[in-house]
């Protein structure tokens, strides 16, 4: 690993030929936005209002234009970028989106829109020395010091920062940077344990199997009631990736675009015939919890919930997915 006294040199080095995107203060909220300089970066903020997923998976994305039967590709130029100061939970979220949008094998679906942005972005992660009360990443196989999935990862230490380059892309990116090599990184282990001890721990081991047994349980009728079906949780979540495709046309000309969607909307599964496979809130909440803690682990091998806690904070009725998962673990029919 290498050591740096301050991060500005790394920032300046990376921003030479890439647009840097990091947490920026807007009013009294923080969003991932393009930064003009290192000083615009809000380094003390852990998570920000929304996850950085909209850099790879925009909120509203034009897929193509059409004129009668002619298709015109969207000419939006995707520039090389740096996603700066992203926390391990959000990095894990990006990783899960990549697994979803870049499926391997012959029949695997590869989303060209997502992948172009993903391939052109360098992910610079930042360890969390002071987790906040809503975090629970350690309960879903995460850690405030997990560098996996980042191209470059920053660990704040006494008197500076330790920098790791988990990927070849990251290694290549820091070439030319004036650095000090260090071999003794043993203090990181103690730092990691200290940070992890500050995070609330839930016992979710075996939840994917427990939930499978609860498909017909009346647990779902019991927990879903306060949900107003607003979709905010899916929008702030780093790993939620559902989208709705819409056409907008005038005469024979128009465009096809996609927007974020949420499985908690009443109309999410509404079919043209009028039939809705998930007409009740309890069925929709069952779907959400099982997708995060059972279906996704089954197919992709990891919990889809990353433990960032944004949903509980953003939810107008303060529904906490961790508490619901906990209740599911404790549920006796």
């Amino acid at each position: 690993m290498i050591k740096l006294k301050n991060l500005k040199s790394l920032y300046d080095h990376l921003s030479k030929d890439r647009q840097v995107i990091g947490l920026k203060k807007e009013g009294n909220r923080y969003y991932y936005r393009p930064l003009k300089s290192y000083d615009e970066w809000s380094s003390d903020v852990l998570l920000g209002n929304f996850s950085p997923k909209d850099h790879f998976f925009p909120h509203d994305e034009t897929l193509f234009y059409f004129k009668a039967q002619k298709l015109i590709e969207s000419k939006e130029e995707i520039k090389p970028a740096v996603l700066w100061g992203v926390r391990p939970c959000d990095i894990a979220g990006i990783g899960e989106l990549e697994r979803m949008f870049n499926q391997k094998g012959e029949e695997g679906y590869r989303d060209p829109y997502f992948m172009e942005r993903f391939d052109k972005t360098l992910i610079v992660g930042l360890a969390c020395t002071e987790p906040w009360p809503g975090c629970f990443c350690t309960s879903v196989e995460g850690s405030p010091y997990k560098s996996e999935g980042a191209d470059i990862f920053i660990y704040p230490i006494e008197g500076g920062y330790l920098i790791e380059t988990p990927s070849k892309k990251g290694e290549a990116a820091i070439e030319g940077l004036d650095v000090e090599e260090v071999s003794d990184v043993s203090q990181l282990e103690a730092d990691r344990r200290r940070a992890e001890s500050k995070i609330k721990k839930y016992a979710f081991e075996g939840i994917e199997d427990k939930l499978k047994l609860m498909v017909d349980s009346n647990f779902w009728d019991w927990i879903h009631s306060p949900c107003i079906g607003c979709g905010t949780c899916a929008f702030v979540c780093p790993s939620c990736h559902c989208f709705d495709i819409n056409d907008s046309s005038r005469g024979a000309r128009g465009l096809r675009s996609r927007q974020w969607d949420s499985c908690l909307y009443e109309g999410y599964t509404l079919e043209t015939s009028g039939h809705n496979p998930r007409p009740s809130g309890s069925q929709r909440w069952r779907q959400r919890l099982m997708h995060k803690f059972s279906y996704f682990p089954q197919v992709f091998g990891s919990y889809q919930c990353l433990g960032c806690g944004r949903c509980a904070r953003a939810c107008p009725v303060n529904i906490n997915i961790a508490e619901i998962a906990k209740k599911a673990m404790e549920w006796v029919e």
Binding site: G27, N28, R29, Y30, S42, D44, V45, L46, N49, F50, H59, D60, W132, P133, G134, S225, P226, I228, G229, C230, G231, T232, F235, V236, D244, N246, S248, S257, Q259, W260, S262, Y265, G267, G281, G309, A312, R313, A314, C315, P316, V317, N318, N320, E323
Partner: protein, 316 residues
Amino acid sequence: MSSMTDAIREEARKILSDGKVDFVIGYAEGDTPIQAKPVFISRVEDVDKLVWPSFGLVNLATYLSRYRTSKDRIGIVAKGCDSRSIVALLKENQIDRDRLFIIGVNCPGMLSRQVAREKAGEIIAAENKGETWSFTTVEGNKEVSCFELMPSNCAACRHHAPVISDVVVGDPITEPDGDGYDSVREFEKKSAPERYQYLMSEMSACIRCYACRQACPTCNCDECFVDITQPRWVDKGLESTDLAIWQLIRVYHQAGRCVDCGACEEACPMGVKLLWLTRKMNFIVKERFGFEAGVDPEALPPLATYEKDDSQEFIL
């Protein structure tokens, strides 16, 4: 407010143990700082989960439309504004009166999480200090007075007492002077381009999550106009005029039904100032048609009726 909490718990305990209701909808302590948490209590043992919250800008009447055709008997904690929403829903036959037991609350006003965010920033922890709240934020400790944390709708409220109830808790509140619409009059002094600029810049933050629509009790159409494809009234996506029209029509559809409860603005993840529009809609309905949502259970909804001498100075 602990006596309010006790009073609410007592009433809920009574109606649950007497078997008057199947469950009670009320507020509980939030898991994260300064958040309201609606809760559905069906067992007497759980009654102590109910609290009278400080940050409680959630209109519980929004849950009632769900029970339109069911047989559940429902107890509900209702502030002044919430009770007016219940009247509006009763008027529209969305729920039966005889299935409801309304625990009315003389509400002195709520505090707003949105306002707290605006004044203090990213809040990690919060502590109630009586007249003030102390917030731990990323930028250090910040103390804000309760007065400063009050949202614009509670400051403008002239209906603190429930208009309909089976029991009432809390001390009666003297309504302040004035009609509460000074902010509307102030805004109308600006020029047209300034006002249009304000509309477009506020709505540009909208991300079409529909939290406002879902939080509102009277936004309860089976199929909302934005989800209709034949015809496509408003496109999906984030084009600026679509965003403005989405909210203008949503507010217009609340004419005579909106009670200025503040749930929409409080639910918005982007902090869009929706009350600025809803308060004008209520002002129009009051000035033009002499109507205020939920105040008179017998009055017909304003757009479902007319007077032969309605004002028409704008018609050639």
